[in-house]
Symmetry: C2
Subunit: 230 residues, 2 copies
C-alpha cells in the first residue's frame, strides 16, 4: 500500500479499528516481555548478564511507549486498546514461567522471535506508516548474539542441557500457537483485517497456511542456531 | 574544581579510585532501583500506572548504562566496581519490601530522593565532568508529580492511610542511614575522598553534620509534599 492510500485506509473505520487492535496487542506483548525480562534479570548468574537482560527489557519498553503514542494519535485510548490482549498474553507467560536462567534466555529469544515473525507477516498487509512502526517495534532488542553465545557455551559444558532446552522450545511454540488462536477467535477486528477490505487484499486460507509454514520454519532455524533440535 | 584540574585530579590514584567507587555505588543503586521498580510495576492497579512505573524503571536503567560506560573509560571493570555495594543495597531493599502499591510509590519517591541528595552533596567535591554525570544520573526519573498525585488522592479518600505511610517514610529513612553508614565504614576509598586530597578540600566533621542536617530537612520537605508527617 503506498503512502497516498494511508488516509484512505484510515477512513475505513474497520481498518482503523483493526490497526488499533493490532497495535494494542503488540504493545501489551511488549509490556509483558518487559515484565518477564525484568523478572528473569533476577535469575542472572552475573551482574553483566543481569544488565544485558535489563537492557533488553528496557528496549521492549521503549517500543511499547511508541506504540502507545501511535494508538493515541489514531484517536483511541491506548490502555483500553491493550486490555483485551492481557489475558492471553498473561496466560502465555504464566504457562511458560522459566524454571532457570537458560529457560529464560531461550524464551526471550524464541518467544520474541515467534511474535516478531507473526506480526511482521500481518504488517505486510498494512499501510506504510503502520508497517514501519511495527517492524521497528519488533527489531531484535539485542537478544540474539547474547543468548546464542550464552546457550551454546552452556550446552558445550553440559550436553544434557540441550535435550531439556529443546523440549522447552517445543513447549514455547505450542503455547504460543494456543494463545494466538485464542486471540484470533476472540477479536473480530483483527479477523476482519485478515479477511481484507477497501484497498486491501484478503488473506485466504492457503495464504494463512503458507504464513504458518514460514513461521514454523523460522522457529526451527532459531532453534538450530542455538544448537537445539526443534 | 575547574575543568583544567580534571586530569590533575585523576593523576591522583586515590582520587580516581574514589570516583570509580562512587560511580560503582550509584550504578548499583540504579540497577537495584530498576529491579525494585519493575517488580513494583506488578502491584500497579491499572495499566496506565504500570506503564508509568515501568518508565521510571527504564530511566534508572539508562543512567546505569551511562555510569557503567564512564567507569570503563576511567580504566576499571564496571561490574567489579559495582559488586562491593551489592550487599548493602540488596539488604536495604530486602528490609524495605513494599507491602502494597502505595508503599512502593513512597519508596520510589522518598528513597530515590534521599539517595540523590546524598550523592549530590558528595558530587560537589568532585571534578566538573564527574559531578555533571552524577547530577544527570540522579535527575528525577518522573517520580515526583506522578507519586504526589497518586498518594495525595489516596490519602484524601482514606485518611488512615496517611498514618501508615508516614511510619513507612520514617522506616525508609532509618534503613537508608543504617546502610549508608555501613558502606562508609567499609569503603576506604570513599572515606579518603571525604577526607580530602590533592586540590580537594576535606569534609570536616562539622561539614558532615551540616550535610546530614540538609538531607534530613529535604526528606521532611518531601514527606510534607506528600501530605505526610516526617
Amino acid at each position: 500500500m503506498t503512502e497516498s492510500r494511508v488516509s484512505a485506509a484510515f477512513e475505513d473505520e474497520d481498518y482503523r479499528r483493526a490497526v488499533v487492535d493490532l497495535l494494542g496487542a503488540i504493545a501489551y506483548g511488549e509490556l509483558a516481555a518487559f515484565d518477564r525480562l525484568s523478572a528473569d534479570a533476577r535469575l542472572a548468574p552475573t551482574l553483566e548478564d543481569k544488565i544485558a537482560i535489563g537492557a533488553m527489557a528496557c528496549t521492549e519498553f521503549q517500543h511499547l511507549l511508541q506504540l502507545r503514542d501511535r494508538i493515541a494519535e489514531l484517536g483511541d485510548d491506548p490502555y483500553a486498546a491493550m486490555a483485551p490482549f492481557r489475558q492471553a498474553l498473561d496466560l502465555f507467560h504464566e504457562h511458560t514461567a522459566p524454571s532457570d536462567w537458560y529457560e529464560g534466555l531461550i524464551k526471550a529469544y524464541v518467544g520474541d522471535g515467534l511474535a516478531a515473525d507473526f506480526y511482521r507477516e500481518i504488517a505486510a498487509y498494512l499501510d506504510t506508516r503502520t508497517r514501519d512502526l511495527i517492524v521497528a517495534s519488533l527489531a531484535d532488542a539485542g537478544h540474539s548474539e547474547f543468548v546464542v553465545d550464552r546457550v551454546r557455551s552452556a550446552i558445550a559444558e553440559d550436553p544434557r542441557l540441550g535435550g531439556r532446552l529443546a523440549l522447552w522450545g517445543r513447549r514455547l511454540m505450542g503455547e504460543a500457537l494456543t494463545q494466538a488462536q485464542r486471540v484470533a477467535a476472540e477479536r473480530d477486528a483483527l479477523s476482519a483485517l485478515l479477511a481484507g477490505g477497501v484497498d486491501r487484499p484478503a488473506l485466504d486460507l492457503a495464504a494463512i497456511g503458507r504464513m504458518f509454514a514460514r513461521i514454523t520454519e523460522r522457529h526451527a532455524e532459531r532453534m538450530a542456531v542455538l544448537g537445539l533440535d526443534s
